[in-house]
Protein backbone atom coordinates (compact mmCIF):
# COMPACT_ATOMS: atom_id res chain seq x y z
CA UNK A 1 0.00 0.00 0.00
CA UNK A 2 1.36 3.49 -0.81
CA UNK A 3 2.95 5.27 2.12
CA UNK A 4 2.03 8.76 3.27
CA UNK A 5 4.94 11.09 2.53
CA UNK A 6 4.02 13.44 5.38
CA UNK A 7 3.86 10.55 7.88
CA UNK A 8 7.19 9.16 6.73
CA UNK A 9 8.91 12.53 6.99
CA UNK A 10 7.48 13.78 10.29
CA UNK A 11 6.08 10.77 12.10
CA UNK A 12 2.76 12.61 12.49
CA UNK A 13 -0.50 11.60 10.78
CA UNK A 14 -1.80 13.81 7.97
CA UNK A 15 -5.58 14.45 7.73
CA UNK A 16 -5.88 11.70 5.14
CA UNK A 17 -3.76 9.04 6.85
CA UNK A 18 -5.76 5.84 7.19
CA UNK A 19 -8.01 6.93 4.33
CA UNK A 20 -6.96 4.07 2.08
CA UNK A 21 -7.06 1.50 4.84
CA UNK A 22 -10.52 2.80 5.77
CA UNK A 23 -11.64 2.64 2.14
CA UNK A 24 -10.30 -0.88 1.95
CA UNK A 25 -12.26 -1.82 5.07
CA UNK A 26 -15.46 -0.20 3.74
CA UNK A 27 -15.11 -2.05 0.45
CA UNK A 28 -14.86 -5.26 2.48
CA UNK A 29 -17.94 -4.35 4.48
CA UNK A 30 -16.13 -3.67 7.75
CA UNK A 31 -17.45 -0.23 8.74
CA UNK A 32 -16.27 -0.44 12.36
CA UNK A 33 -12.71 -1.10 11.27
CA UNK A 34 -12.92 1.76 8.74
CA UNK A 35 -14.08 4.09 11.51
CA UNK A 36 -10.98 3.22 13.53
CA UNK A 37 -8.63 3.99 10.65
CA UNK A 38 -10.06 7.39 9.76
CA UNK A 39 -13.46 8.44 11.20
CA UNK A 40 -13.15 11.86 9.52
CA UNK A 41 -13.64 10.41 6.05
CA UNK A 42 -17.25 9.53 6.91
CA UNK A 43 -17.99 13.26 7.19
CA UNK A 44 -15.69 14.86 4.69
CA UNK A 45 -16.11 12.51 1.71
CA UNK A 46 -19.88 13.17 1.46
CA UNK A 47 -19.12 16.91 1.61
CA UNK A 48 -16.68 16.52 -1.28
CA UNK A 49 -19.22 14.55 -3.29
CA UNK A 50 -21.85 17.26 -2.65
CA UNK A 51 -19.48 19.90 -4.05
CA UNK A 52 -18.85 17.77 -7.13
CA UNK A 53 -22.59 17.20 -7.59
CA UNK A 54 -23.33 20.95 -7.41
CA UNK A 55 -20.49 21.69 -9.81
CA UNK A 56 -21.68 19.14 -12.34
CA UNK A 57 -25.38 19.92 -11.92
CA UNK A 58 -27.03 21.14 -15.09
CA UNK A 59 -29.25 23.45 -13.07
CA UNK A 60 -27.67 26.75 -12.04
CA UNK A 61 -28.59 26.41 -8.31
CA UNK A 62 -27.61 30.04 -7.66
CA UNK A 63 -28.50 30.12 -3.95
CA UNK A 64 -26.75 26.87 -3.10
CA UNK A 65 -23.68 27.95 -5.06
CA UNK A 66 -23.53 31.31 -3.38
CA UNK A 67 -23.46 29.63 0.04
CA UNK A 68 -21.24 26.63 -0.73
CA UNK A 69 -18.76 28.55 -2.88
CA UNK A 70 -18.46 31.56 -0.59
CA UNK A 71 -14.96 32.18 0.77
CA UNK A 72 -16.22 32.01 4.38
CA UNK A 73 -17.62 28.50 3.94
CA UNK A 74 -14.55 27.33 2.01
CA UNK A 75 -12.10 28.63 4.59
CA UNK A 76 -14.22 27.07 7.36
CA UNK A 77 -14.00 23.76 5.54
CA UNK A 78 -10.23 24.03 5.33
CA UNK A 79 -10.23 25.10 9.01
CA UNK A 80 -12.16 21.96 10.01
CA UNK A 81 -9.62 19.81 8.16
CA UNK A 82 -6.74 21.56 9.93
CA UNK A 83 -8.44 21.10 13.32
CA UNK A 84 -8.89 17.39 12.61
CA UNK A 85 -5.21 17.29 11.63
CA UNK A 86 -4.19 18.76 14.99
CA UNK A 87 -6.65 16.78 17.09
CA UNK A 88 -5.68 13.41 15.68
CA UNK A 89 -2.03 14.03 16.52
CA UNK A 90 -2.63 15.08 20.15
Amino acid sequence: MPQCVFHNLTGYDCPGCGFQRALYAVLHGDIARAWKFNPFMFFIVPVGLCYLAVELSRRPLPKLRRIMFSPAVLYSLIGVIVIWWIVRNL
Binding site: M1, P2, P15, G16, Q20, Y24, L27, I44, V45, V47, G48, L49, Y51, L52, V54, E55, L56, P60, L61, P62, R65, M68, F69, P71, L74, L77, I78
Partner: protein, 159 residues
Protein backbone atom coordinates in the same frame (compact mmCIF):
# COMPACT_ATOMS: atom_id res chain seq x y z
CA UNK B 1 -33.27 50.38 -23.67
CA UNK B 2 -29.53 49.67 -23.43
CA UNK B 3 -28.58 46.16 -24.49
CA UNK B 4 -25.15 44.57 -24.24
CA UNK B 5 -24.16 41.67 -26.49
CA UNK B 6 -21.30 39.21 -26.47
CA UNK B 7 -19.93 39.07 -30.00
CA UNK B 8 -16.62 37.82 -31.43
CA UNK B 9 -15.27 37.16 -27.97
CA UNK B 10 -16.02 40.66 -26.71
CA UNK B 11 -18.74 42.30 -24.75
CA UNK B 12 -20.16 45.11 -26.87
CA UNK B 13 -22.69 47.79 -26.32
CA UNK B 14 -24.81 49.29 -25.12
CA UNK B 15 -26.99 49.21 -28.20
CA UNK B 16 -30.59 50.06 -28.80
CA UNK B 17 -32.88 47.44 -30.27
CA UNK B 18 -32.74 49.21 -33.64
CA UNK B 19 -28.94 49.18 -33.64
CA UNK B 20 -29.01 45.46 -32.86
CA UNK B 21 -30.96 44.89 -36.06
CA UNK B 22 -27.92 46.14 -37.99
CA UNK B 23 -25.58 43.71 -36.24
CA UNK B 24 -25.21 40.13 -37.30
CA UNK B 25 -26.72 38.61 -34.22
CA UNK B 26 -27.54 34.94 -34.19
CA UNK B 27 -30.38 33.72 -32.05
CA UNK B 28 -27.83 32.23 -29.65
CA UNK B 29 -25.78 35.40 -29.18
CA UNK B 30 -25.70 36.13 -25.44
CA UNK B 31 -27.38 39.40 -24.49
CA UNK B 32 -27.91 41.24 -21.26
CA UNK B 33 -29.80 44.35 -20.24
CA UNK B 34 -30.95 45.88 -16.98
CA UNK B 35 -33.66 43.63 -15.61
CA UNK B 36 -32.22 40.31 -16.79
CA UNK B 37 -30.75 38.30 -13.96
CA UNK B 38 -28.16 36.71 -16.24
CA UNK B 39 -26.83 36.63 -19.80
CA UNK B 40 -29.12 34.69 -22.09
CA UNK B 41 -29.39 33.79 -25.76
CA UNK B 42 -30.93 36.62 -27.77
CA UNK B 43 -33.91 34.47 -28.78
CA UNK B 44 -34.81 33.87 -25.12
CA UNK B 45 -34.47 37.41 -23.77
CA UNK B 46 -37.90 39.07 -23.97
CA UNK B 47 -36.57 42.33 -25.42
CA UNK B 48 -34.56 40.76 -28.23
CA UNK B 49 -36.71 37.72 -29.02
CA UNK B 50 -38.69 39.79 -31.52
CA UNK B 51 -35.55 40.15 -33.68
CA UNK B 52 -35.78 36.52 -34.61
CA UNK B 53 -39.47 35.83 -34.99
CA UNK B 54 -39.73 36.86 -38.64
CA UNK B 55 -36.48 35.25 -39.71
CA UNK B 56 -36.31 31.82 -41.29
CA UNK B 57 -34.88 29.34 -38.83
CA UNK B 58 -31.20 28.91 -39.56
CA UNK B 59 -28.66 26.76 -37.85
CA UNK B 60 -27.02 29.02 -35.27
CA UNK B 61 -23.32 29.56 -35.92
CA UNK B 62 -21.38 29.15 -32.71
CA UNK B 63 -18.13 30.92 -32.22
CA UNK B 64 -15.95 29.56 -29.46
CA UNK B 65 -16.84 32.29 -27.05
CA UNK B 66 -20.54 31.86 -27.60
CA UNK B 67 -20.33 28.17 -26.81
CA UNK B 68 -18.44 29.04 -23.66
CA UNK B 69 -21.04 31.67 -22.78
CA UNK B 70 -23.92 29.31 -23.25
CA UNK B 71 -22.26 26.89 -20.85
CA UNK B 72 -21.92 29.57 -18.24
CA UNK B 73 -25.64 29.82 -17.69
CA UNK B 74 -25.22 30.60 -14.01
CA UNK B 75 -22.91 33.52 -14.71
CA UNK B 76 -24.51 36.75 -13.64
CA UNK B 77 -23.44 40.35 -13.49
CA UNK B 78 -21.75 40.41 -10.09
CA UNK B 79 -22.36 43.16 -7.58
CA UNK B 80 -19.45 45.56 -7.65
CA UNK B 81 -18.47 44.65 -11.20
CA UNK B 82 -18.70 47.44 -13.74
CA UNK B 83 -21.34 47.22 -16.44
CA UNK B 84 -18.73 47.35 -19.19
CA UNK B 85 -16.92 44.27 -17.89
CA UNK B 86 -17.30 40.85 -19.52
CA UNK B 87 -19.03 38.21 -17.39
CA UNK B 88 -16.96 36.72 -14.58
CA UNK B 89 -14.49 34.05 -15.69
CA UNK B 90 -15.43 30.56 -14.51
CA UNK B 91 -14.20 29.40 -11.13
CA UNK B 92 -13.54 25.79 -10.28
CA UNK B 93 -14.49 25.69 -6.63
CA UNK B 94 -16.69 22.59 -6.71
CA UNK B 95 -14.06 20.59 -8.53
CA UNK B 96 -11.30 21.90 -6.30
CA UNK B 97 -13.06 20.98 -3.06
CA UNK B 98 -13.86 17.51 -4.34
CA UNK B 99 -10.29 16.95 -5.53
CA UNK B 100 -8.82 18.33 -2.32
CA UNK B 101 -10.81 15.80 -0.29
CA UNK B 102 -10.88 12.76 -2.52
CA UNK B 103 -7.95 12.98 -4.87
CA UNK B 104 -4.99 15.30 -4.55
CA UNK B 105 -5.12 17.64 -1.51
CA UNK B 106 -2.46 20.16 -2.52
CA UNK B 107 -3.78 20.61 -6.06
CA UNK B 108 -7.35 20.99 -4.79
CA UNK B 109 -6.31 23.48 -2.12
CA UNK B 110 -4.47 25.62 -4.68
CA UNK B 111 -7.52 25.38 -6.96
CA UNK B 112 -9.75 26.75 -4.17
CA UNK B 113 -7.35 29.58 -3.39
CA UNK B 114 -6.95 30.62 -7.05
CA UNK B 115 -10.73 30.43 -7.61
CA UNK B 116 -11.48 32.62 -4.60
CA UNK B 117 -8.76 35.11 -5.62
CA UNK B 118 -10.20 35.19 -9.14
CA UNK B 119 -13.65 36.06 -7.77
CA UNK B 120 -12.15 38.78 -5.57
CA UNK B 121 -10.18 40.26 -8.49
CA UNK B 122 -13.33 40.32 -10.62
CA UNK B 123 -15.30 42.09 -7.94
CA UNK B 124 -12.45 44.57 -7.61
CA UNK B 125 -12.84 45.34 -11.32
CA UNK B 126 -9.62 43.68 -12.51
CA UNK B 127 -10.83 41.36 -15.25
CA UNK B 128 -7.38 40.49 -16.62
CA UNK B 129 -6.15 39.28 -13.25
CA UNK B 130 -9.43 37.44 -12.62
CA UNK B 131 -9.18 35.48 -15.86
CA UNK B 132 -5.50 34.70 -15.26
CA UNK B 133 -6.30 33.34 -11.78
CA UNK B 134 -9.24 31.42 -13.21
CA UNK B 135 -6.84 29.78 -15.65
CA UNK B 136 -4.45 28.87 -12.82
CA UNK B 137 -7.34 27.27 -10.93
CA UNK B 138 -8.24 25.31 -14.05
CA UNK B 139 -4.69 23.97 -14.32
CA UNK B 140 -4.70 22.91 -10.67
CA UNK B 141 -7.91 20.98 -11.33
CA UNK B 142 -6.53 19.34 -14.47
CA UNK B 143 -3.26 18.33 -12.82
CA UNK B 144 -5.12 16.96 -9.78
CA UNK B 145 -7.42 14.88 -11.95
CA UNK B 146 -4.50 13.52 -13.97
CA UNK B 147 -2.54 12.61 -10.84
CA UNK B 148 -5.67 11.05 -9.38
CA UNK B 149 -6.27 8.97 -12.50
CA UNK B 150 -2.67 7.79 -12.45
CA UNK B 151 -2.72 6.76 -8.78
CA UNK B 152 -6.23 5.27 -8.67
CA UNK B 153 -5.48 2.13 -10.75
CA UNK B 154 -2.35 1.68 -8.64
CA UNK B 155 -4.47 1.51 -5.48
CA UNK B 156 -7.02 -0.79 -7.04
CA UNK B 157 -4.17 -3.07 -8.09
CA UNK B 158 -2.81 -3.05 -4.56
CA UNK B 159 -6.17 -4.09 -3.18
Amino acid sequence: MKIWVYLNGNQQGPYTLDELRQLNLTSSTPVWYEGLSQWMPAREAPATASLFCSEPVTEPVFSGSEVKMSLMDDRQPVAGARADMPPAPPTFIGWSVFLMICCFPIGGLLGIIFSVMSGNAYRAGDYTRASRLSESAEWCVIISIVLGLITAPLMVALF
